[in-house]
Amino acid sequence: MSEQHQVEDDDRVLIQRMASKDANALDVFYTRYNRIAFSLVFRIVRNREDAEDVLTDVFWQVWQQSSRYDASRGKPLAWLLTIARTRAIDRIRSMGRQDLHNHQQREANPAPAAPDPVIVSATRGAVQEALQSLEEQQRIPLEMAYFQGMSHTEIAAALGQPLGTVKDRIRTGMMHLRKRLRPYL
């Protein structure tokens, strides 16, 4: 079994233990992934204090919803990051654009840290390569959607492009990412 598969199996066991309210399992899961989840949340909300609030909510949701985790619907890390992204986007929407702009002005660079140790470096390298191989016209709308929570209509307006073009580029970009990352999905 590959190192990556072993990590995923361990993660599923941790989620099962959380579902039976084993707080030690939450402790381990948090230790494994707090940095990647925090990096994502911080990238979206751009403010350390808010990012830490959101991060608490994210792992609390993991703890509360662990019994509803369905392994057939995705890997544990993808599940966690989907929750993290959703909670962070909810936060910036609740802040309103003006507050968001002020936050982004105020704090743009978090303190660097070592990456979460269980994320295999080969995976990280493959992801870097996959993203670098995306054409800019596909990467930009994807990042606007994923990191800024912008809908296709907002992206089309911001880029001055037809809606159909934006939708097509998002679809094409996603297909490209999936193709390049298939061994890790």
């Binding site: 707090n34 940095r35 990096s39 990012a51 703890w63 890390l77 080969a122 990042e143 296709h152 999936r178």
Partner: protein, 261 residues
């Protein structure tokens, strides 16, 4: 859209892509989420699963950063306060708990008798002081490492396994202010008895410069701090080669790890 699809069309693929990327409008998102949950459409669920996994990898490309320790403390206090005590252990183990409790009482009684001997007490105190001193040294070392890893002038360089060591990986945290590397390795098997590994600074011009000679532990890992000479400012790469025991002034063996700066 109240139905289960039987095959994936371009239109369905586009909807799944927009949903996974978070690019739907709010109305579209709610309707599509309902389709996934209530209709239990296997075609769309499978597509969304893969695409959400793919897009979530965006997070792996972000510079890692750490939340403050207060987040974990708050989270764990919440979780431990919420954990029902009755669920922490199965009912069938109550007799074990009773025996354990009895043993604990016995242990306390024995400890009480022993503790009445002043010599034992002094010995225990000495052991504890020694242990505290060890932990303080460990803690200081870890704090030093954390301070280095989180300081502003740190560059991170990844090294990839080469040749027969393709499974190996390395990472350098280059503290440019303090002029040192914190170098770690995973999955690099120990060198044969007549060989050593050697880490090299590879300047943009001129010959490589030896950084250190080492061997990995039985589990293929290494963590070591390496001073960076003052004259080294611009590098094009860092490399690990396999050399005769004790290392060589210039690399002669195969690459085990290589990373571009």
């Amino acid at each position: 859209m109240s139905m289960k699809h039987t095959e994936l069309t371009d239109d369905l693929q586009e909807r799944a892509s927009l949903y996974a990327a978070g690019a739907m409008t709010e109305d579209e998102r709610l309707e599509y989420a309902r389709h996934l949950e209530e209709d239990q459409c296997p075609v769309c669920q499978a597509e969304v699963k893969e695409l959400q996994s793919a897009i979530s990898f965006f997070a792996l490309t972000l510079p890692p950063s750490s939340p403050s320790a207060a987040v974990k403390i708050r989270l764990m206090e919440q979780a431990r306060g919420n954990a029902p005590a009755a669920q922490q252990r199965p009912r069938g183990f109550r007799w074990v708990e009773r025996v354990s409790a009895a043993l604990a009482v016995l242990a306390i009684a024995v400890a009480f008798v022993l503790s009445r001997t002043n010599t034992d007490l002094r010995h225990q105190a000495d052991l504890l002081r020694s242990r505290i001193a060890q932990l303080e040294v460990q803690l200081a070392g870890q704090q030093n490492t954390i301070a280095m890893l989180t300081s502003a002038g740190v560059r991170v360089v990844d090294l990839a396994g080469q040749g027969s060591n393709v499974q190996a990986s390395g990472r350098i945290f280059w503290d440019q202010q303090q002029k040192r590397w914190f170098f770690s390795i995973r999955n690099l098997p120990p060198a044969p008895p007549d060989k050593s590994y050697q880490l090299w600074f590879v300047p943009k011009t001129g010959n490589p410069i030896s950084a250190t000679v080492f061997n990995t532990a039985a589990d293929g890992t290494l963590s070591v701090e390496v001073p960076v000479p003052n004259e080294i400012t611009e590098l094009k790469a860092a490399a690990v080669t396999t050399e005769p025991l004790g290392g060589r002034p210039q690399p002669t063996g195969d690459f085990a790890l290589l990373g571009a700066m």
